[in-house]
């Protein structure tokens, strides 16, 4: 069923068919599949398409199951596309636009989303630093330069070819993160009460954020006085994820892929009180207010910096 819809959508939406749209309720994500047998029947989109015959047969079968309607009818297909537009059963979205769902997560990961530390007691923040350092090991400039390629920004890094062929990855150097790279300040600002928190996007195989305008990260106080956070810096300065890091081909072939990051440097935050922070992705068509999954297009955490 899904496959049929996707392939039908293909002509009119040249790109969107190639990845699975993914809203909060939908998790059947696409990935480059060198699948097991049982999975094989469900051919992947990114995979070189199967023979036309097979395709048709499958469609026929699925259509019979799904609607019990005759196949190969152009009029019917049009109607399908139309009705899909009204009500997409796959995603259960009414009048669905190209709603893209980014899921994001932050680092350091400390088993909770409450960042609670005392500036003057290194023991309280040391584990954040260790966590960040560990996380950023894979982003070391030397490693990136050695393993990955520097690809042109602002466009997808599409690598056609055999599906089990190894893919190259774009460089994301630790130094992009400037003050939050831990290179200059090995404590990532924690020692000064200006913590760095890294925002990364959850990897989804084949996902291509179809961006018109760049998606910007922006943080603010979630509840309470807006002025509790007086300034935040973002690195890279664009506060966005570059297209060249997409699509992701899966870790089996895309071995050295490094997720793009946006570092948020909370340079001036009210001390000695819990400040709930919400960092959202903002841009055209970005969903960031889903209630069930609070990591869609946003992340919420609290900062409680004691001095």
């Amino acid at each position: 069923m899904r496959r049929q819809l996707r392939s039908r959508r293909a002509p009119s939406f040249p790109y969107s068919y190639r990845y699975r749209l993914d809203d909060q309720d939908e998790l059947n994500q696409n990935y480059l599949a060198d699948e097991e047998e049982e999975a094989e029947e469900e051919a992947r989109v990114m995979v070189v398409p199967k023979s036309e015959e097979e395709e048709e047969e499958k469609e026929k079968k699925e259509e019979e199951e799904g609607q019990g309607q005759p196949t190969g009818n152009a009029w019917w297909q049009k109607l399908q596309i139309m009705s899909e537009y009204l009500w997409d059963p796959e995603r259960r979205v009414f009048l669905a636009r190209t709603g893209q769902s980014w899921r994001v997560m932050i680092r350091p990961f400390a088993h909770s989303l409450n960042f609670n530390f005392n500036v003057s007691e290194p023991d309280t923040w040391q584990h954040y630093v260790i966590s960040l350092n560990g996380f950023l090991q894979g982003y070391n400039d030397s490693l990136q330069e050695e393993m990955n390629v520097d690809c042109p920004p602002g466009q997808y890094f599409i690598q056609d070819g055999d599906e089990d062929e190894d893919k190259k990855a774009c460089q994301f150097k630790r130094s992009f993160l400037k003050n939050c790279s831990g290179l200059e300040d090995p404590t990532f600002g924690y020692s000064t009460g200006q913590p760095c928190i890294l925002l990364k996007m959850n990897r989804i195989v084949g996902f291509r954020p179809e961006l018109g305008d760049p998606v910007k990260v922006s943080c603010k106080v979630q509840r309470g006085d807006e002025n509790d956070i007086r300034s935040i810096r973002y690195y890279p300065e664009s506060a966005s994820f570059d297209l060249r890091y997409y699509p992701y081909y899966g870790k089996l072939t895309h071995v050295n892929y490094t997720s793009p990051l946006v570092a948020m440097h909370f340079t001036d935050v009210v001390k000695n009180q819990a400040v709930p922070v919400q960092c959202q992705l903002k841009g055209k068509g970005i969903i960031n207010d889903v209630i069930n999954d609070r990591f869609v297009g946003r992340v919420i955490f609290t900062l409680n910096i004691e001095t």
């Binding site: 059947n28 990935y31 599949a33 990364k200 959850n202 989804i204 992701y248």
Partner: protein, 1039 residues
């Protein structure tokens, strides 16, 4: 008693032994058994009650003593004030209805019965778990609260359902109150008054006339030709005369007491009330009946056994894995939740409801065949019945005297005794018959009630006693309009029957205008009639009555008497016209006409004939391995005759007495083992120890119990039950009601049956057709087989539901199926299919096999449990896991990545869990995938349950022998399964609390090969069972 009766009309010949015994034994003979019985059951109050009954001696007192005893006056009656006092003291004259369990208690019982306790425990554990979670974390998820509530809801729903079913079936019960006569004519304050019978008190003087019910136990003070129908109390078909004479020590046998709720058929009687309400004989029997505990039905025992097995498995696996989980360092709280999951997975929540529905479907089917089942579980009981104790009168017989044999011209003729008398084939050409028929017609006072022109003759109501009715109907059928014949032969004078004459005589003008003679016709006890005769008519000619003719008469008389029939002799005399001219004035007091030297014409014998369907039904019961025993209050001779004619004693089997008679040796010398049949009287029974009774029940194939009291019927039923037999009792009278209650299944006659019997019974045959019992047996056996199938079907998936939890605990996979989802299988998709199995036809001729052994042939036996749980169940679990792994693999979690993933998977703070392809998943995404997994697992089970359903259609035969499409309901079941599955997945997929998601269509087919494998596997099993009967395979694989 018997002697008395023989004086009336007839003599039963070989009853002498009994009579002697009766006379020797004191009046307690019938009640000794009762006394023992009571002692046995150690019910003190009852015992006292019956002892009080023994002390009844009012029949021995004369009128003056009675007046004194009850402080009343025979002429004036009680004063109103005294009556009011007594009423206040003794309470109203009505039977206390049997104690009803309060509805709320019944309801609560349903709430804790069966698996409910387990589910309650599960629910409370859920809430406790939530309480603990809440106390440590205020934002704890409400899932456990939901689950607990759902479990409680399930318990309450199934409880309400069971309660409703039970209430529906008990509503049919009518009460004893119906038997109470509405009004009574009583003398109080020297005035005749009509008062409600309920207000009668002891000492009241009441008048009862023909057609009324006796309003209380009364001592007869005076009577005019009163006869009462005691058949519901004693099983005697014949009306009993009632007079003020004290005739027997035993209050039940004496003539001067009329019993509450019996009917006065004719005449009038005035009597003094000596017992009211519960203190009456009927009251005692009623309390005896209600004192008999309701036995658990065999199917109830089976279901309990099954519940124990399943609960045992659930609890032991639950606790085992609780311990394992704790020792694997799971938190106790988590382990507790596992425990709940295991319990829910193990308990087939819907099964008990399914069983109820299945039983009620069969009950409905049986109701269509005129078997009304009052107690649902009794539906199956009949199927496992191994002994039927049948009452005679009204059950096996028509409870209607009917002419059975005629003897004239030195020949015995057989009359048709079938229900409609349609086929009278005996030779009617002889002129002796013409004379005989004339006597039968004329010497008869019975008349049809008017206004019944369109009613078939045999169904017409008649005024007159049973014998006369029989003769009237007999002659009406053969000769046509009897009334017209009587008109043509005008009656000049008659002497009605009385106990001194012991004959009935009438003198008529003849219908031949040229014959001016009067015809005197007479009927009565044969030997009395013979005494009055000097000639005998043979082929229409009078012959002198010599010794040889007298001998042939005696032979015939003996023969007919030996058939248990009541014999009447008929004679006539044409009075010579010269001596008795037309104007002659007959004087019945002076007897100015000859009453000797008459001409003997013939004998006619009557019996209460068996119902025409009974012999066939008895044969069928026999071939189904069911022993049919007759238990009757009637006389042994009659009982034996009926037993022979219906096949309860088969044609070629003999009793000890028969053998003795044939070999001409004393009874003592006969080898007991040679006799296949036995006839045991109540008198013999009361002297027997329980062991002796057991011996008789075990050794004889064909047994008739005669002259038994209600209490002895009870003892007999208990004796049969001691043989591990499932006992069915059929009966219609009040005297049967204790036995009906005691029996595993009591079957009452719907038309002839008294309300007391119907009340005590579990099943009512609406058409009084004994053959319906055979239908019942067949349905009962079928339902037992089909319940096996249903249970096997239901149990299978429990393993598939259980394994996920075990693997979840041991291997740390994300939970494959949720508790709520399990409930949707148990109470959703599986319900209709398991009911559909009730419609399955029998695999072989179930009426040719022995009834199941109560203790050996269990509903759920080891092969069933093992095959369902470990063979098909495990295959099903594998198939369902295949779907589960397919879904996860498709999403990026290959099976090996799932192992021990549980902790991270369920961690709310891990929102970028990596899968096999490096994709990262938030907690919510994982949860959604988990639900998809639930749905997948659900679909996997569902698909394989379809195969399971198909294989369960048969236990031994191949599906193709049984026919895949013969049971259409199975396909309805399969359709319902699929439709419910589709609705759950695609319709309710968006309701978060239900944990269903929209599953991709192709996942529905992943388990199909597995389903086919299950089918093939089971076909192979059945093939080997058929190929190698009795082999190891057969013993272990046939359930």
């Amino acid at each position: 008693m018997r002697q008395k009766r023989s004086e009336i009309y007839s003599v039963e010949l070989s009853g002498t032994k009994d009579i002697v015994r009766t006379d020797q034994g004191d009046d307690k003979e019938k009640y000794r058994g009762l006394k023992n019985n009571c002692l046995e059951r150690k019910k003190k109050n009852q015992e006292e009650d019956f002892q009080k009954e023994l002390q009844l001696d009012d029949h021995k007192l004369n009128n003056r003593e009675l007046e004194k005893k009850y402080g009343t006056n025979i002429i004036m009656g009680l004063s109103s004030t005294r009556a009011a006092e007594l009423l206040a003291r003794d309470g109203p004259n009505s039977l206390t209805p049997p104690k009803q369990t309060p509805e709320i208690v019944k309801f609560l019982k349903q709430m804790v019965g069966g698996f409910s306790i387990l589910l309650w425990v599960g629910a409370f554990l859920c809430w406790i778990a939530y309480g603990i979670q809440y106390s440590s974390d205020k934002s704890a998820s409400l899932n456990n609260v939901y689950l607990g509530s759902v479990l409680v809801l399930v318990v309450i729903l199934t409880g309400v359902f069971a309660y409703y079913q039970e209430a529906k079936s008990t509503n049919i019960m009518s009460s004893f109150n119906k038997m109470i006569p509405q009004q009574a004519l009583v003398i109080r304050d020297s005035e005749k008054k009509t008062i409600p019978a309920e207000q009668l008190v002891v000492g009241d003087i009441v008048e009862v006339k023909g057609g009324d019910q006796i309003p209380a136990d009364i001592r007869v003070l005076s009577s005019q030709g009163c006869r009462v129908d005691n058949s519901s109390l004693t099983g005697e078909s014949e009306p009993q005369p009632r007079s003020s004479e004290f005739t027997h020590e035993n209050p039940l046998e004496t003539k001067n007491i009329c019993f509450y709720s019996t009917t006065c058929l004719e005449g009038t009687v005035t009597g003094m009330v000596i017992n009211t309400g519960d203190r009456t004989i009927i009251g005692h029997i009623a309390s005896l009946a209600s004192g008999v505990g309701n036995e658990k039905t065999p199917i109830a025992i089976e279901i309990e056994h099954f519940v124990h097995i399943v609960a045992g498995v659930a609890v032991s696996i639950g606790i085992l894995f609780f311990i394992i989980a704790v020792s694997m360092k799971y938190r106790v709280l988590d382990s507790l939740i596992f425990l709940i999951g295991i319990i829910v997975a193990n308990v087939p929540e819907g099964l008990l409801g399914t069983v109820t529905v299945t039983l009620s479907l069969t009950a409905k089917r049986m109701a269509k065949k005129n078997c009304l089942v009052k107690n649902l579980e009794a539906v199956e009981t009949l199927g496992s019945t191994s002994i039927i104790c049948s009452d005679k009168t009204g059950t096996l017989t028509q409870n209607r005297m009917t002419v059975a044999h005629l003897w004239f011209d030195n020949q015995i003729f057989v009359a048709d005794t079938s229900e409609d008398h349609s086929n009278q084939v005996f030779d009617q050409s002889s002129s002796t018959w013409a004379s005989l028929s004339k006597i039968i017609t004329l010497c008869n006072r019975a008349e049809f009630k008017p206004g019944q022109e369109n009613v078939p003759i045999m169904k017409k109501a008649v005024i007159g006693d049973a014998s006369e009715t029989a003769l009237l109907k007999f002659s009406e059928v053969i000769l046509g309009d009897v009334m017209e014949i009587r008109k043509r032969n005008r009656k000049v004078v008659e002497i009605p029957f009385n106990s001194t004459n012991k004959f009935q005589l009438s003198i008529h003008e003849t219908d031949d205008p040229h014959d001016k003679r009067f015809l005197m016709v007479m009927k009565g006890a044969p030997e009395r009639i013979l005494e009055k005769c000097s000639t005998i008519m043979i082929n229409g000619e009078e012959h002198p009555l010599d010794k040889s003719t007298a001998k042939t008469f005696h032979t015939a008389y003996m023969e007919l008497g030996g058939l248990g029939e009541r014999v009447l002799g008929f004679c006539h005399l044409y009075l010579p016209a010269d001596e008795f001219p037309e104007t002659y004035s007959f004087d019945i007091d002076a007897m100015n006409f000859p009453t000797s030297n008459l001409c003997f014409v013939g004998l006619l014998s009557m019996i209460d004939p068996p119902r025409s369907t009974v012999p066939d039904a008895v044969t069928k019961c026999r071939s189904a391995g069911i022993k049919v025993i007759m238990v009757t209050g009637d006389h042994p001779i009659t009982a034996k005759a009926i037993a022979k004619s219906v096949g309860i004693i088969s044609a070629n089997s003999e009793t000890v007495e028969d053998i003795a008679h044939r070999l001409n040796i004393p009874v003592e010398q006969v080898n007991q083992r040679d006799a296949k049949a036995a006839i045991v009287t109540g008198m013999e029974l009361k002297d027997m120890s329980l062991e002796q009774l057991d011996e008789i029940l075990a050794n004889y194939q064909e047994i008739v119990f005669a002259r038994t009291s209600p209490q002895q019927k009870l003892i007999i039923v208990e004796g049969c039950q001691r043989q591990d037999a499932v006992v069915a009792v059929t009966g219609d009278g009040v005297n049967d009601s204790p036995a009906l209650k005691k029996a595993d299944i009591g079957i009452a006659m719907g038309i002839a049956g008294s309300d007391a019997a119907k009340n005590a019974a579990d099943m009512v045959l609406l058409d009084d057709n004994f053959a319906s019992i055979v239908t019942g047996v067949e349905e009962g056996r079928l339902i037992f087989d089909n319940l096996k199938k249903t249970i096997a079907y239901t149990l299978t998936k429990n393993i598939a539901e259980l394994c996920p939890f075990l693997i979840y605990i041991i291997a740390g996979l994300p939970l494959p199926i949720g508790t709520i989802t399990i409930l949707f299988i148990d109470l959703g998709t599986d319900i209709i299919p398991s009911i559909a199995l009730a419609y399955e036809k029998a695999e072989s001729d179930i009426m040719n096999r022995k009834p199941r052994h109560k203790k050996k042939d269990r509903l759920v036996n080891k092969p069933l449990a093992v095959y369902s749980y470990l063979h098909i169940g495990l295959m099903q679990a594998l198939g369902a896991f295949l779907v589960y792994f397919t879904v996860y693999a498709q999403e990026g979690f290959l099976p090996h990545t799932l192992i021990n993933l549980r902790v991270e998977w369920e961690n709310d703070n891990v929102n970028d869990l990596e899968d096999h392809y490096g994709q990262e998943w938030t907690r919510y995404q994982r949860e959604y995938l988990e639900w998809t997994g639930y749905t997948a697992f659900f679909v996997g089970i569902l698909v394989q349950q379809i195969a399971d359903l198909i294989i369960r259609k048969t236990r031994r035969n191949s599906i193709f022998q049984q026919g895949l499409f013969r049971n259409k309901v199975i396909w309805v079941g399969i359709a319902s399964q699929i439709i419910i599955g589709l609705i759950l997945s695609y319709g309710l997929g968006s309701v978060t609390a239900l944990n269903f998601t929209m599953l991709r269509a192709q996942y529905w087919f992943v388990a199909v090969p597995h389903a086919i494998l299950i089918w093939v596997y089971d076909e192979v099993r059945k093939l080997f069972i058929r190929l190698y009967p009795g082999s190891w395979w057969d013993k272990n694989m046939y359930y």
